[in-house]
């Protein structure tokens, strides 16, 4: 690096060899001609737009009225824009440190395994994808519906293995005679005595969710000294009469019905037949409550709302880290390869543990490389834009907002307030400057 830099640093500046005093043209003109194309391009594409943007930021929406610092005031008072600034600082605090740390861990660990190149390629691969495309991929993976979003699908598999969902998770009581919810089960309000017939009607069950062996529901005969009843799908096309067992309405087989005492303690339970009927024989006198157990209603896993307002920023950060970890790893691995092995060997010989070697020798020696990665990430994170717009659904873009996105949305996203947009751009520019200065200084030092 330093070698090539020194050769570049030798443009003929001073007096060329020879006797005569060079003319002004020879001194500056030639250099100017060579620099001209660059200067013109920089002028047209960088200097002019920068100045124009700064001026524009002091004007109103239409650009005819000078409004001083009003746009800047809006920038720090408007809720959406303040959220954008806050989010951007979160990004600054979390992401560069995270990317650098993960890159370091990958680099150090991969140095020790076989086929490390293959692993490195895999980790580096996301860099080959544009950030926008990566955003689209993650948007799909984050879908809330476990049948669509990969991540929620993964969680659903684990969750369903631990606590499987009930057979009739969506079922609702068909009349107010049944009360309760998924936690305690549905309880028939009317107390029962031996000889009573209980009718437990349920709706909200898709016909395709009714077990295949279900038959026409029937109201069972009363049983002396026992309690009988029926659990059925209290719905036929058009609705039917709620609370009445009618033609075409099917019994629900395999439902666990609990017989509870007055205090809600379960005394005994039984399963329904194919026509939905059940019977508790030989029960003693005294009021009872019939209930359908809570596990019948336990809902299937609905998925984490990664793309919802509260999780969207961490979710996008994840995607971003996934993309950039590879870059960090490759740069750090290069730095690692340049560390003299004998230093590490010496430390080990002196009895340092692996952790001490890593902490006291490797990391300090890698410090310049880590700084490069960290500072580069700082700059990239400040102007993060495309991944936010591609992962965040429109309804949460206010919550996921960052400065660059706010600038785009304000200027071009339909608000068309170029004054405010310019002010946001200037603010972003001011934020980047200190990091740029730092970076340039460091480059100078290294040269």
């Amino acid at each position: 690096m330093s070698e090539s830099a020194s050769t570049v640093e030798a443009p003929p500046r001073g007096l060329p060899p020879g006797d005569h005093e060079p003319g002004l043209f020879q001194r500056y003109g030639v250099a100017l001609i060579f620099l001209a194309p660059t200067l013109v391009l920089l002028g047209v594409w960088v200097v002019y737009p920068t100045i124009r943007t700064i001026i524009r930021s002091f004007y109103d929406r239409d650009g005819d009225e000078f409004i001083g610092l009003d746009n800047y005031e809006t920038l720090f008072t408007d809720d959406t824009l303040v959220t954008a600034i806050k989010n951007n600082f979160l990004w600054l605090l979390i992401v560069p440190a995270f990317v650098t740390a993960i890159g370091l861990v990958f680099a150090v660990l991969l140095e020790r395994i076989r086929f490390s190149v293959a692993f490195k390629v895999v980790v580096f691969m996301p860099m080959a994808i544009s950030l926008f495309a990566a955003g689209v991929i993650w948007r799909l993976m984050y879908e809330k519906d476990p049948s669509q979003g990969t991540i929620n699908a993964g969680i659903a598999v684990v969750k369903d293995a631990v606590s499987p969902s009930g057979v009739l998770s969506a079922a609702q009581p068909s009349t107010e005679a049944l009360q309760g919810g998924p936690e305690g089960g549905l309880v028939l309000q009317k107390p029962l005595a031996p000889g009573d017939v209980a009718q437990l009607g349920l709706t909200g069950i898709r016909s395709s969710d009714v077990p295949a062996d279900a038959e026409q529901a029937v109201v069972p005969e009363a049983l002396a000294g026992g309690i009988t009843g029926v659990v059925w799908r209290d719905f036929k096309p058009g609705g039917g009469v709620p609370g009445q067992v009618e033609e075409e309405e099917l019994g629900l087989p395999g439902i666990t019905v609990e017989l509870r005492d007055e205090d809600g303690r379960t005394i005994t339970e039984t399963q329904t037949e194919t026509d939905g009927t059940f019977a508790f024989e030989d029960v003693e006198a005294g009021p009872y409550l019939a209930a359908i157990g809570p596990d019948t209603f336990s809902e299937p896993y609905a998925g984490v709302s990664w793309l919802g307002a509260s999780l969207i920023t961490p979710a996008i950060m994840m995607a971003y880290v996934w993309v950039w970890a590879g870059f960090a790893m490759v740069v750090i691995a290069a730095g690692l390869a340049a560390i003299p092995r004998d230093l590490l060997e010496a430390a080990r010989t002196d009895g340092a543990t692996e952790w001490q070697v890593f902490r006291r020798v490797t990391v300090p020696l890698l410090a310049p490389v880590l700084t490069v990665v960290f500072v580069t990430m700082l700059i990239y994170v400040l102007k993060v834009f495309d991944i936010v717009i591609s992962v965040a659904p429109g309804s949460v873009q206010d919550d996921a907002n960052v400065i660059a996105l706010a600038m785009w949305r304000t200027s071009f996203g339909g608000v068309n307030d170029f004054g405010l947009g310019a002010a946001i751009a200037v603010f972003l520019f001011l934020l980047v400057i200190p990091i740029l200065v730092l970076n340039v200084r460091r480059f100078r030092r290294e040269i």
Partner: protein, 433 residues
């Protein structure tokens, strides 16, 4: 944005339909042809491809009556608006153009770029009715003819779901609510909602508002002459709660609706394993999804129901023909466009809805278009999509104003006072006080 879907839908529609049936009837006062009218006229619109061919067929129909007029059509594509503005600025606009935004037409009127066509007013009213005619009028002067329309007062449903629950297409809001409850009792989720960005909900709101508050107040709200905190807005939002007020009404619940894009919301209904029975979206719905379902037997459409006895009303959009340069040939062409004959040519080719009341709807190639286009033409009250008439910072921007208000309402349907206040604040800013 919405407009793009519309165009997409119409293109797909045009590809899908094969012209069938023929003939049209002449009960709308068809234009008499003349060989005396001569000249060249240039016409510009967004239509390209299949739609361009269909429009060319309309031009050919015109040339049969006026053989000595040479009509040259140029497609402006999606950039038509800027193209026309630039052409007007440069002093060289086409003779005639079809614009999709009344606001653009109004802008041209203010610039003095358009020719009044008041002599056609009677013919327009006779064929299209007062309220469609008024879409092309600015402050009492007629400037445009809405030749091609789009109907956003439609609700699409999955036929199998409706049959399973035993419900029919509702005609009133109460019947719609009954259908919703019956569907839920059958275990079918009633609505699919996609409010990733807010506009499908702005259409729902406009449809309700037009029916509950009436067309006059609709116009006033669009012009921000009545505030969003008005009781009429709150009442309309109360009706909206019937749809989005309960998370269990919505496929995947409210959270998922907020992450669902419009085409996906349609796809959830237009499939043989539907996640919801209905989706409230304009007539372009079949064009935005790939589906194995057949129209009519797999998916079908019904008209946005009447609320408290409101008459047939349609919220929609359309392409409005305006005249930049006055000439006998241009006048003759515009007059021809008011006739049912002109509409019939495109209608039987498919991908077209005519607001012309005198066009026989049997001419449309399929029953679904007959319904959607028929409703458009028969509407007693037609109103242009309000959010397209509002300043775009309020009515047409993701995450802002009206769209934002609607997504916030879906998220928080009980906070009507908060939402209306928020809408009013945003509107006051966007309309410039």
């Amino acid at each position: 944005m919405r407009y793009r879907w519309l165009v997409f839908a119409l293109i797909v529609g045009a590809l899908a339909f094969v012209a069938a049936g023929c003939g049209g009837d002449d009960n709308g006062g068809s234009a008499e042809g003349s060989e005396d009218v001569t000249g060249d006229i240039s016409v510009m619109a967004i239509w390209g491809g299949e739609e361009q061919e269909s429009f060319q067929a309309v031009i050919d129909g015109f040339n049969e009556l006026y053989p000595n007029v040479n009509v040259k059509y140029t497609s402006g594509g999606d950039n038509l608006g800027p193209l026309l503005s630039t052409a007007v600025e440069g002093g060289n606009p086409p003779d005639i153009a079809a614009v999709g935004q009344p606001g653009l037409m109004q802008g041209f009127v203010e610039q003095g770029a358009l020719q009044p066509i008041d002599d056609l007013r009677d013919a327009i009213v006779e064929n299209f009715g007062e309220s469609v005619a008024d879409v092309g009028a600015v402050e009492g002067t007629q400037y445009g003819i809405m030749f091609k329309g789009a109907n956003k007062s439609t609700i699409w449903y999955n036929v199998a779901d409706f049959e399973e629950a035993g419900v029919g297409a509702p005609e009133t809001w109460d019947e719609l609510n009954e259908a919703r409850d019956t569907l839920k009792a059958a275990g079918v989720t009633p609505y699919s909602v996609g409010v990733d960005v807010g506009w499908p909900m702005t259409d729902l709101f406009e449809n309700i508002y037009l029916r509950t508050a009436g067309p006059e107040m609709y116009d006033q709200l669009v012009a921000h002459e009545i505030p969003w905190t008005d009781q009429s807005v709150k009442d309309a939002l109360t009706f909206m709660q019937d749809v989005v007020g309960d998370s269990s009404n919505i496929a995947g619940g409210t959270e998922e609706a907020l992450q669902t894009e419009m085409p996906d919301s349609v796809a959830k209904v237009f499939t043989d394993s539907p996640e919801a029975a209905m989706v409230i979206i304009g007539d372009f719905a079949p064009g935005v999804v790939e589906t194995t379902l057949e129209p009519e037997t797999g998916y079908n459409v019904f008209t946005f129901p009447s609320i408290d006895g409101s008459g047939p009303s349609v919220v929609g959009g359309g392409d409005i023909f305006v005249e930049f340069k006055d000439s006998p040939a241009a006048d003759a062409f515009l007059e021809y466009l008011t006739t049912p004959d002109a509409a019939a040519i495109w209608a039987e080719r498919g991908g077209f809805s005519s607001p012309n009341k005198n066009l026989d709807t049997d001419i449309y190639p399929d029953v679904i278009t007959q319904t959607t286009a028929g409703n458009l033409a028969e509407a007693e009250e037609f109103r242009f999509d309000g959010s397209d008439l509002m300043p775009s910072a309020f009515g047409g921007t993701p995450g802002q104003g009206f769209w934002k208000g609607m997504t916030d309402f879906v998220q928080n349907p009980d906070d009507i006072d908060g939402i209306t206040q928020q809408l009013e604040t945003a509107a006051a800013n966007a309309y410039g006080g």
